[in-house]
């Protein structure tokens, strides 16, 4: 489904601020894989996401989607293949547009936009149906401006908008990190439900170890632009948070001290 071949990315090359963000990463994501990625700040998780999404382009290496090379395809064109949910609940929706208008924009992710009305009555029925699956009552507020919704509601809507058109790849960038615990739990539950129902190929960045252990069939741990630990299948299912912490300290012991910051950060 998604393939990263020898990706290398350096920021500020040739200056004192030079930083190797991604250090020759190879990754093969199979159909219906659900991968969680953990790692400390600056490990390269977000850079990796940006390279997959086309916001950044690798210095070396290729990105393939369904065996098609998309390395140099700009972000907006690559969006046809993927749905994305961001950490900031404000980032995934347009605040001055109504709920149904936002959904219409999301609906057009895979279609060329035309001069037809964005919200037709048949689409409205579809949107209503989809909103009902969230169980938040948003289906009764189709014409409300999204800016009026709470952070949790907006993030749930973002998740729906990213997924209801069945993207080939779903990218979740710490999408529960900015929410309070109960809202975060709701979004996590919805994520699990939607990904299972639609059999979506998913990659999720998280700082929540419990979440990383609970969700998905594969886990990657990143540090300094490299994948330093990986588990899949049965090994992943048996994995617990202490195991993960153990792995983390093992990797860190060859040099840097393990601190709260690297764990939580």
């Amino acid at each position: 489904m998604l393939e990263l071949n020898g990706i290398h990315k350096i920021f500020n090359e040739g200056t004192p601020d030079e930083k190797i963000a991604i250090d020759h990463i190879n990754l093969k994501v199979k159909q219906s894989d659900f991968i969680t990625i953990i790692g400390s700040n600056g490990a390269g998780k977000s850079t990796l996401f940006n390279i997959i999404a086309g916001k950044l382009f690798p210095d070396v290496g290729d990105v393939l989607i369904e065996n098609k090379k998309v390395t140099n395809l700009p972000e907006y064109k690559r969006a046809r293949y993927m749905g994305r949910v961001f950490q900031d609940p404000m980032a995934g929706t347009a605040p001055t547009l109504s709920i149904e208008e936002n959904l219409s924009i999301a609906y057009n992710r895979v279609k060329t936009r035309s001069f037809r009305l964005g919200v037709s009555s048949s689409r409205r029925t579809l949107f209503k149906e989809k909103l009902e699956t969230l169980g938040l009552g948003l289906e009764n507020r189709l014409e409300a401006k999204v800016g009026l919704l709470s952070g949790g509601e907006r993030q749930a809507l973002s998740l729906l908008m990213a997924t209801f058109t069945k993207p080939k790849i779903l990218l979740l960038d710490e999408h529960t990190a900015a929410l309070d615990p109960s809202r975060a739990a709701l979004i996590t539950r919805l994520t699990k439900q939607i990904v299972e129902e639609e059999q979506l190929t998913t990659i999720m960045i998280t700082h929540n170890m419990q979440q990383a252990v609970d969700l998905g069939n594969r886990i990657l741990m990143m540090d300094k632009g490299k994948v330093i630990y990986e588990a899949a299948g049965e090994e992943k299912q048996k994995l617990t948070v202490p195991d993960l912490l153990n792995e983390f300290s093992k990797m860190k012991s060859d040099g840097a001290e393990l601190s709260d910051r690297t764990l939580l950060g």
Binding site: E75, Y76, G92, A94, P95, I105
Partner: protein, 323 residues
Amino acid sequence: MFTSIFSSVEVGLMFAIMALGVYLSFRILDFPDLTVDGSFVTGAAVGAILIVNSTNPFLATALAFGAGFIAGTITGVLHTFGKINALLSGILMMIALYSINLRIMDAPNLSLLQHDHIFTKLNEAWGNTGIDAAMASFFTSIGLSDFIPKTWVIIIVMIIFVLLIKVLLDYFLKTEVGLALRAVGDNHLMITSFSGNINFYKVFGLGLSNGLVALSGALIAQYNGFADVNGGIGMIVIGLASVIIGEAIFGTKNIVRVTLAVIVGAIIYRVIVALALRVEFLETGDLKLITAVIVILALVMPQVIAKQKEAKRKKQRRARLAG
């Protein structure tokens, strides 16, 4: 008095088209586009030179829209592909257009008085209907003979035309392309992640915005009977004034309401100017100053009113708790 207000409504309706263009760039795209000062004159110049050369005035006005559209897209390209700051790309285009407008007209100003333009054509067609005479006798019969305007044709045709543009714009902003355009001004990250090419929408939106501005310029030139290369100075402020006045009065609940607000705002602005100019110590040259003051008032007054309301609410709340 009535005649001057009547004609400011006529002019206000024409400027309303420009204000809708400014609304598109300023509010919808969130792009402070100063091209307007130049593209307004471009519209006037293209319309005027074509009319002077005996082109059909309706075609000439449509082509003026096209010229403005092109000017807007160039500003858009400077900003998106040239990565020039929004304000600066507008200013650059405005300056460039000054020279281009001079080239188009081949003179600092062009008179249309000897030529057939939209309003002479409309007057001809209208003259046969006898509606003006009927209205005149009606006004005289109710004892308002002082209030008879020269003709009703301009105001009626302009109301229909402006409303038509409004309805088309309302519809457009609800189409798939229109929604994407609105999202560009709202949230770049979001529309990009849903396959929207923000560069394309910015260029297209600025084209449309300046097309409307130029259309307005062409109409104003024909109404005034001349096109002047300096006719666009401060146009962006007038457009903004209309948008802000309209929004302050009607609110921004939905697109249909805001576009109407902008149109009425443009008319109110003209009426305020007409009334201000009747004040004894003010001269025609003070127009720009008056405009600036109106915009400042329209921006500051809502804040002052909101503050007063809040103070009143707190006072009542305190009184209730104390009592």
